[in-house]
């Protein structure tokens, strides 16, 4: 929110009451909404006030005393983080009194703080370091021998380790548990200078959201065990991306060093993650560092030994093999499989390749076709949950699939008074309607994609009872939503237009391949299809049975083993593109690591394949494909980058 610049309040005529008050900070006059804190007003005016205990997502506590500022007519300095501006207030943030106080507080905070910055994980991105340089005293007057010592490595769980000595007692972690997750796992013990943060009853932390603790800690007290002593912040290459673990669409920074991802850090998007990540997502990064990768194109027919080939040879061979099946047995003998681990651009090109070039209706990105897929099923935005009168969550599966949803529901319930009802899917639609209650107002229905039919039933009943209902369906896989939007489905074209004829679903394609009815498979990241062991087996046997298997895979697996043409792919950490979250938010992923192969990205390989099959001129770069998608799917043109693609009504 931008602050309005206005003339000095005294000189101007009294403005009409617009819910704003005039305040002057360091000589800069601005008008801010009534109830704004001095800290936020100063931030709007571009004035920096150092803070430790204050946190944008938490209520003020004013314990660190770092943000004290001078307010005209008040005898004492006031905490900017907890003082609300009043009309005509004149604030000074750098008066001699404030400067002395800031030096004083920093001296106090450093009194018992260890001097281990050279080995501290936080060194380089530490607020205590940074503010000491900017606001602090040059030297300490306190004898180093008198420092109070604490335990330097308290294992709080298998994910978090606490250095009690570095703690400056800002209380952000205890307040995080109280205000953000609603769990209470960390407490304050002892008092005075011996006060320390400790796990409640010495129990290990069990929260699914512990990974946020080291991030909100202003110093290096709370540390990730998976990142402890691994890197210095200035050595990390930071790339803005999207968490690849589920389809909630949390924004992350991928921090990499030496061709390895060292950590996932949160990147605040108030509309999605509200700066919180779940541990499943945050600590999933090691799998992207695996060196078990496919690095060279391989070509070999059935019964032949696969030989390394150049990309051009491999693509030409793939085109020949696929064209042969298409021309001899018809497009229906070809199955095209992808998974939710591909970007919108890849899926868009792949479904065009299937429909326009290979002439097959058999394409899918999942094994199961959960019934009841409807375009309006992701109408409810994540941030909109807070505006609902009530929210019905059908079963535990939505929160199991997208854990950060739990935090949004908690915020909606505690800070916005939304009636959040978690329901048993077995109890049926009527029970859900009873729990939510009839009547007007916006009601959200959140379901996993396996419960689409139930969600539709609940929605219909609530609408009959007079409510305005919006649905949010939690899709599976990072781009499960995008794959559907892109028409990577047997029965639907991009934008949910009905396809004719409808082809086979993922499982049907594999079963048909086993039965010999499908002769050729074109797969992109199809290893991501099979989550369960028995599906792995089905996939392995189906791929081994098909006469032609053209596979773009980034990792060795059931598909790559028996491919007749194998082309290495880029992992999600190695490419540019967009993925679409459950709520339809189209967000960009960026390359954080150099690719493990010399082969270009999948979009280029797919357009080369199209060209070799007689369709030259397809866009090969992700940004160009994006433009093509925007031209063909209006919702994506509206969404742009970071907006939501919402399909409310299905065009005929």
């Amino acid at each position: 929110m931008a602050a309005d610049a206005s003339p000095t309040p005294a000189a101007a005529a009294p403005p009409p009451d617009d819910g704003r008050v005039a305040v002057n900070i360091d000589g800069r006059a601005l008008r801010v909404p009534r109830g704004t804190l001095i800290l936020d007003a100063a931030t709007q005016a571009g004035i920096h006030i150092p803070i430790y205990c204050a946190h944008p997502k938490m209520e003020p506590v004013a314990v660190c005393r770092m943000c004290l500022v001078q307010v005209e007519k008040l005898p004492k300095l006031q905490p900017a983080c907890a003082t609300v501006v009043s009309d005509g207030m004149v604030v000074t943030t750098r008066s001699p009194q404030v400067v002395k106080e800031q030096e004083g507080v920093l001296e106090f905070l450093l009194l018992n703080h260890p001097l281990d910055c050279p080995v501290c994980d936080r060194g380089g991105e530490c607020d205590l370091q940074d503010f000491t340089v900017r606001y602090g005293p040059p030297t300490s007057r306190f004898p180093i021998t008198e420092k109070v010592h604490f335990n330097k490595a308290v294992r709080l769980s298998d994910r978090i380790e606490l250095d009690q000595e570095r703690c400056i007692l800002c209380w952000r972690c205890t307040r995080y548990y109280e205000e953000i997750t609603g769990e209470k796992e960390l407490v304050l013990q002892e008092r005075g200078v011996h006060t320390l943060i400790a796990p409640f009853n010495d129990q290990p932390l069990r929260s699914e959201f512990q990974g946020n603790l080291p991030e909100i800690c202003p110093v290096g007290a709370l540390t990730h065990i998976k990142y402890r002593f691994r890197a210095r912040p200035w050595d990390l290459q930071r790339s803005r991306s999207i968490c690849p673990e589920c389809s909630y669409g949390c924004n992350i920074n991928v921090d990499a060093r030496d061709f390895e991802v060292k950590r996932f850090a949160s990147r605040d998007n108030p509309l999605v993650d509200d700066m919180w990540l779940c541990d499943r997502g945050r600590y999933s990064f090691p799998r992207w560092n695996s060196t078990d990768r496919i690095r060279r194109p391989m070509v070999g027919g059935r019964g032949e030994v696969a030989m390394p080939a150049t990309l051009e040879e491999a693509v030409a061979q793939a085109a020949r093999q696929l064209a042969a099946v298409r021309d001899e047995r018809g497009g229906a003998a070809i199955g095209v499989l992808a998974s939710a681990e591909s970007t919108n651009e890849e899926l868009w090109l792949l479904q065009r390749l299937a429909r326009e070039v290979l002439d097959t209706p058999n394409l899918d990105h999942q094994l199961e076709a959960f019934p009841g897929l409807a375009a309006e099923e992701h109408e409810l935005g994540i941030a909109e949950i807070e505006e609902c009168r009530a929210v019905a969550v059908l079963g535990p599966e939505p929160e199991r699939q997208a854990p950060v949803l739990t935090l949004r529901l908690f915020k909606a319930a505690t800070k916005r008074g939304v009636a959040v009802r978690r329901l048993d899917t077995g109890a049926g639609a009527r029970a859900a309607v009873e729990a939510v209650g009839g009547g007007e107002g916006l009601v959200g229905v959140i379901a996993d994609e396996t419960d689409r039919a139930l969600a539709a039933d609940v929605t219909a009943r609530l609408r009959a009872a007079g409510a305005t209902v919006k649905r949010l369906t939690v899709t599976r896989g990072v781009n499960g939503r995008g794959a559907k939007d892109m028409g990577m489905l047997p029965g639907l074209l991009p934008g949910y237009r009905a396809a004719s004829p409808a082809g086979m679903s993922g499982r049907e394609i594999l079963e048909a391949a086993m039965a010999g009815r499908i002769a050729a498979l074109l797969t992109v990241n199809a290893a991501g299809l099979a989550v369960e062991d028995r599906d792995q087996d089905l996939l392995r046997r189906a791929v081994a049975r098909a006469e032609v298997v053209v596979a773009l895979e980034s990792r060795p697996g059931p598909v790559s083993e028996s491919a007749t043409v194998l082309i290495p792919g880029h992992s999600l950490m190695e490419k540019l593109g967009t993925v679409t979250s459950s709520e339809g938010r189209v967000q960009r992923i960026r390359a954080a690591l150099p690719p493990a192969t010399a082969t270009p990205a999948e979009t280029r390989v797919l357009s080369m394949l199209a060209a070799d099959l007689g369709h030259p001129g397809w866009p090969a770069e992700p940004t160009l494909v994006q433009r093509a998608i925007a031209g063909a799917v209006p919702a994506y043109a509206e969404a742009g980058n970071g907006g939501r693609a919402v399909f409310v009504a299905v065009p005929a």
């Binding site: 314990v63 660190c64 770092m66 004083g104 507080v105 106090f108 009194l111 008092r191 005075g192 200078v193």
Partner: protein, 430 residues
């Protein structure tokens, strides 16, 4: 027995702590009168007229405190602050031990005035015997119909609950008291909202001191105007002063406000002991600034003492004779605050530790003059910057003593020991 005495008038009468004796001496008549003749608002008006100010330390007008309660928000609570832990303070203890029913009557009058259905007595953990006395007296009063549903047959109901603290000075701060009472860690809350608006369990709450409440039966019985006529205009009534230190007769003395401090020292306390002269005194407990013999002619008047650079605070008078080392006293007091700091805000948590380190080295005579200047600077960095008054007051005595006895402080620097206590002849005087 002086005529002006109210609270301690009946002290010493055998069996005063029992209901029967208290009633025989006119006890619970104030409550009866309030319930029979006065509406709650009229009780508030009487207390406002009396101009009585809180006896806990801050001296805020009690009637005004009550009137800050938002209209129509119920339930409201009354909390009785019996967490008397100011160094040198022991008046509430005497009031509870010797005349507990006077306090309970006062509590019920206050609860009636603010229409609180429950009153909590928060008594410090160390006062175990006193807590048992109160618990017994509450049961006695309950059996007699003063506490419970329909007090004395009226439609006013009130329950009184005695709750023992766990031993923390900070829990005498009213919002920390509320947190502790709620079962939380005893630490002050961010204000605003003030307890009158959002206090115990988020409801409007009044927190009053034991001595303040003990005055209420007298104010109701004899009228606010009568009380207002006692003592100076803005510092009305009597106060119990806890006198300790180097005096002949330490103890609790109830004084009419406005009386010169010298009268308290010379006549009630019997003067400075061992024929020595007075070096300094602290008029309001461990928190307050030091005063000098020249201030003995000040009246016992909250505003007059505040004007002289100190405060009457909780009414604890600590007198120090000529042999006292002010550095030593500062050190002991700062150690107290260092021990009692709750750890919530950084200036108090770390500052008291730094102060304590410097003063210990100063008292041992191993501090440099430069470090002595650091001490003053540390105090300045704490004073007015802490979350609650604890951290601020930790600096007041040290700063005032350093100003008034600068030479003595400086004489400690590099002296290799305490020059005052060793004396000029090298012998230990104290």
């Amino acid at each position: 027995m002086a005529e002006y005495k109210l609270l301690t008038k009946d002290f010493g009468i055998e069996g005063l702590e029992t209901l029967a004796v208290y009633e025989r001496l006119g006890g619970y008549q104030g409550l009866r009168k309030a319930l029979r003749d006065l509406t709650p608002d009229e009780v508030v008006a009487e207390v406002k007229t009396s101009a009585i100010r809180g006896r806990g330390g801050a001296g805020f007008p009690t009637g005004m405190k009550w009137s800050f309660l938002p209209k129509g928000v119920h339930p409201r609570y009354l909390c009785v602050n019996a967490d008397e832990s100011e160094p040198g303070c022991f008046k509430d203890r005497a009031l509870i031990e010797q005349n507990p029913h006077q306090l309970i009557e006062g509590i019920l009058i206050a609860a009636y005035a603010i229409q609180a259905p429950i009153a909590f007595i928060y008594i410090r953990g160390e006062y175990r015997d006193q807590r048992l006395i109160l618990e017994r007296c509450v049961e006695e009063a309950r059996a007699a119909g003063y506490i419970g549903a329909g007090v004395l047959g009226s439609d006013f109901s009130c329950d009184v609950i005695v709750h023992g603290g766990a031993g923390a000075y900070i829990c005498g701060e009213e919002t920390a008291l509320l947190d502790s009472l709620e079962g939380l860690r005893g630490q002050p809350r961010l204000k605003p909202p003030f307890p009158a608006v959002k206090g115990l369990y988020g409801q409007p709450t009044v927190v009053n001191n034991v001595e303040t409440l003990s005055n209420l039966p007298h104010i109701v019985m004899r009228g606010g105007a009568w009380y207002a006529a006692l003592g100076p205009e803005k510092s009305t009534g009597t106060r119990v002063f806890c006198c300790s230190g180097h005096i002949n007769r330490p103890g609790n003395y109830e004084m009419l406000l406005g009386t010169p401090i010298r009268e308290l020292l010379e006549e009630e306390c019997g003067g400075v002991w061992k024929g020595r002269s007075l070096k300094a005194f602290q008029p309001g407990g461990g928190s307050m600034q030091v005063l000098l013999p020249e201030h003995l002619d000040l009246p016992l008047d909250m505003d007059a003492v505040t004007k002289a650079g100190s405060a009457l605070g909780a009414g604890a008078m600590v007198f120090m004779d000529e042999t006292t080392c002010l550095v030593n006293v500062s050190m002991r007091l700062v150690d107290f605050y260092h021990h009692e700091s709750c750890g919530k805000c950084s200036p108090c948590r770390e500052g008291t530790y730094f102060q304590s380190d410097l003063l210990h080295r100063l008292e041992r005579g191993v501090l440099t003059k430069q470090e002595l200047a650091t001490l003053a600077d540390i105090c300045d960095n704490m004073n007015g910057k802490c979350f609650c008054p604890l951290g601020d007051t930790a600096t007041w005595f040290v700063m005032s003593a350093y100003q008034a006895f600068r030479e003595e402080f400086e004489a400690h620097c590099g002296a290799g020991g305490c020059p005052v206590r060793m004396g000029r002849r090298g012998e230990v005087l104290v």
